[in-house]
C-alpha cells in the first residue's frame, strides 16, 4: 500500500473503532434504560413498615458510611442497588473496609 492509502486506512480504522465503541455503549445503555423503566414500572410500592431492627441497621450503616467513605472523599449520591453493590465491592478492596462495614454501608446506601 502507498503511504497515503496507509494513512487513510489507519484514519478510517480509528474512526471505525470510535464509532463501534460508541454504538456498543449506546446499545448497552439503551438496553439498560429500557430494562430499568420496566422494572421501575413493575416495582411494588415499598412497604412502610420499618421495624426497629431496620432503623438501627440503617443508622449504623450511615455512621459507618461517613466514618469510612468520608475519610477520602465527599459523600456520593445513592446509586442504583446493583451498581452500588459493585462499587462497594471495589471500595472494599481499595479501602480495606471490613466485611461488616461493607454489609451495613451497602444496606444504608440502597434503602
Amino acid at each position: 500500500m502507498t503511504p497515503n492509502v496507509k494513512r487513510s486506512w489507519k484514519r478510517g480504522s480509528l474512526v471505525y473503532v470510535a464509532l463501534l465503541t460508541m454504538t456498543m455503549f449506546l446499545a448497552l445503555s439503551a438496553a439498560a434504560r429500557t430494562e430499568d423503566a420496566k422494572k421501575d414500572a413493575a416495582a411494588p410500592v415499598a412497604s412502610a413498615s420499618h421495624n426497629a431492627q431496620d432503623d438501627t441497621a440503617r443508622l449504623e450503616g450511615e455512621r459507618r458510611f461517613h466514618s469510612n467513605c468520608g475519610r477520602c472523599h465527599t459523600a456520593p449520591p445513592k446509586f442504583p442497588p446493583r451498581m452500588m453493590s459493585t462499587i462497594i465491592r471495589h471500595m472494599r478492596v481499595r479501602a480495606n473496609i471490613t466485611d461488616e462495614d461493607r454489609r451495613l454501608i451497602l444496606r444504608y446506601m440502597t434503602q
Partner: protein, 369 residues
C-alpha cells in the same frame, strides 16, 4: 505490512458490528425477569447482598497549571471498569489518558498525549482476606491507593514524596480489613510482591513490602505504617507512616504521610487539612484546603545523579492553599496557589480547573432503582 481487500474489510466491519449488536440484545434478553435483589426487606444485615453488575466509572478533568511562569493546559480522562463475577470475584481495570499542552520553542502550543494503565487486577474477596493478582497500585501509605484520583484529591498537585517509592506493582497481594477483636478498632493490612517489568507503559520494579493500619471509628482516627524493599539495582528500602483524623465535632480532615528511603531518593513528609464550610449558609459547598510539605534530598549525591533525579535531587519546601467548590457531589471546581522553595528554583504554582466523576451501569437492569 499486510494488505486487505476492500470487500473483505467491509465484511469484517459488518461482522464485528453484528457481533456487538447481538451481544447487546442477548445481554438484555438474559436479564429480563431476573431479580436484582437476592436478599432484601426483612432479612438481617448479615445476609444483605445484591447481584452486582459491571460498572464503568472514572473521572474527567481539565486543568490549567502555571508552574514557575510556564502555562500548561491538560484535559484528562481516567476510566475505571469494574466487572464483578459471582459473589467473590472482581476484575478492576483503570486507564489514564491526558493531552498536555505546553508552549514549544516556536512559541506555539503543542500537545503531548500520554496514556497508561494505572491498574488491571483480579480480586478474590473473602471475609478476612482478599487475594489480588495483576498490576496494582503499590500499597504504601495512603496517597497512591486512595487519594490520587483527581476527583478525590483535595489539591491537584501531587506531594513531593510520592515518587520516592515504586507506585505500581505487578504480581500478587494479600490484603483485608478486620475488626481487631473489638468494635472500637479495625485492623487492615496489605502484603505484596512484584516482578520487574520494563515495558514503557507498565514498568514496575522487582520489590516486596506491605502496610498495616488501624482505624478507630469512635474518634475517626486512622494510622499505620508501610515498608517496601526493592530487589533490583541498588536495592533501596523505604519505610513510612501515615495518619488521617476527622474530628466528630467539625467537618475537618487532617491527613499526613512521612517516608524515608535508604537509597538516593531522600525523605520527606506532607500534612494536609481540608475544611468544608458546612456551617456557613452560603458557603456550604466550599472546601478550604491547606498543605505543607518538606522534602530532604539524599546527602552527598553526585551532580549527575542530582540532575537525573530532577525534583528529588534538591531539598524542597512547599506550601499550598486551595479552594474546592462542589456544584454537585460529582462536579467540582478547584483552584490553588502554592509556593515552592528549592535552592535556586523558587516558584509559584497556580492551578485552576474542574473535575467530573461519572458512573454508568454496563448491564441491562443495572440502573434499576
Amino acid at each position: 505490512m499486510f494488505s486487505v481487500s476492500l470487500p473483505a474489510r467491509k465484511f469484517a466491519r459488518a461482522f464485528t458490528f453484528a457481533i456487538f449488536l447481538m451481544s447487546a440484545v442477548a445481554m438484555r434478553g438474559q436479564d429480563i425477569g431476573a431479580n436484582p435483589v437476592t436478599s432484601q426487606g426483612d432479612a438481617p444485615p448479615e445476609d444483605y447482598t445484591l447481584k452486582a453488575v459491571p460498572v464503568l466509572t472514572g473521572s474527567g478533568a481539565y486543568f490549567t497549571r502555571v508552574n514557575a511562569g510556564q502555562i500548561q493546559d491538560a484535559p484528562s480522562l481516567s476510566p475505571l471498569l469494574l466487572v464483578p463475577i459471582g459473589d467473590n470475584f472482581l476484575i478492576e481495570a483503570k486507564g489514564s489518558l491526558a493531552d498536555t499542552y505546553n508552549k514549544n520553542t516556536q512559541g506555539n502550543y503543542a500537545g503531548t498525549v500520554t496514556y497508561g494503565m494505572t491498574y488491571a487486577q483480579a480480586d478474590y474477596i473473602t471475609k478476612y482476606v482478599t487475594l489480588t493478582a495483576g498490576r496494582f497500585t503499590t500499597p504504601f501509605g495512603i496517597y497512591g491507593e486512595r487519594l490520587a484520583p483527581n476527583w478525590i484529591k483535595a489539591l491537584q498537585g501531587t506531594p513531593l514524596i510520592v515518587p520516592v517509592t515504586s507506585g505500581a506493582s505487578l504480581g500478587g497481594m494479600l490484603r483485608g480489613g478486620i475488626p481487631a477483636g473489638t468494635e472500637k478498632v479495625n485492623f487492615n493490612y496489605a502484603f505484596y510482591f512484584s516482578s520487574n517489568n520494563t515495558n514503557h507503559i507498565l514498568a514496575t520494579d522487582r520489590s516486596s513490602g506491605g502496610r498495616i493500619g488501624f482505624f478507630l471509628p469512635g474518634p475517626r482516627l486512622e494510622f499505620g505504617a508501610s515498608f517496601q524493599q526493592v530487589l533490583q539495582a541498588d536495592r533501596p528500602h523505604s519505610a513510612g507512616v501515615h495518619f488521617v483524623w476527622q474530628p466528630n465535632a467539625v467537618p475537618l480532615t487532617l491527613r499526613s504521610e512521612y517516608v524515608r528511603q535508604s537509597g538516593i531518593k531522600g525523605s520527606g513528609y506532607w500534612i494536609e487539612s481540608a475544611y468544608l464550610l458546612k456551617q456557613i449558609p452560603l458557603m456550604k459547598k466550599v472546601e478550604v484546603v491547606g498543605r505543607g510539605q518538606q522534602f530532604y534530598a539524599a546527602g552527598k549525591l553526585p551532580a549527575a545523579t542530582v540532575k537525573k533525579l530532577g525534583a528529588l535531587g534538591l531539598d524542597t519546601n512547599e506550601a499550598d492553599f486551595g479552594l474546592n467548590y462542589y456544584f454537585r457531589t460529582d462536579v467540582r471546581a478547584s483552584a490553588s496557589y502554592g509556593r515552592q522553595f528549592a535552592l535556586g528554583r523558587n516558584a509559584n504554582l497556580w492551578t485552576i480547573g474542574m473535575t467530573y466523576r461519572f458512573v454508568s451501569p454496563l448491564w441491562p437492569g443495572g440502573g434499576a432503582m
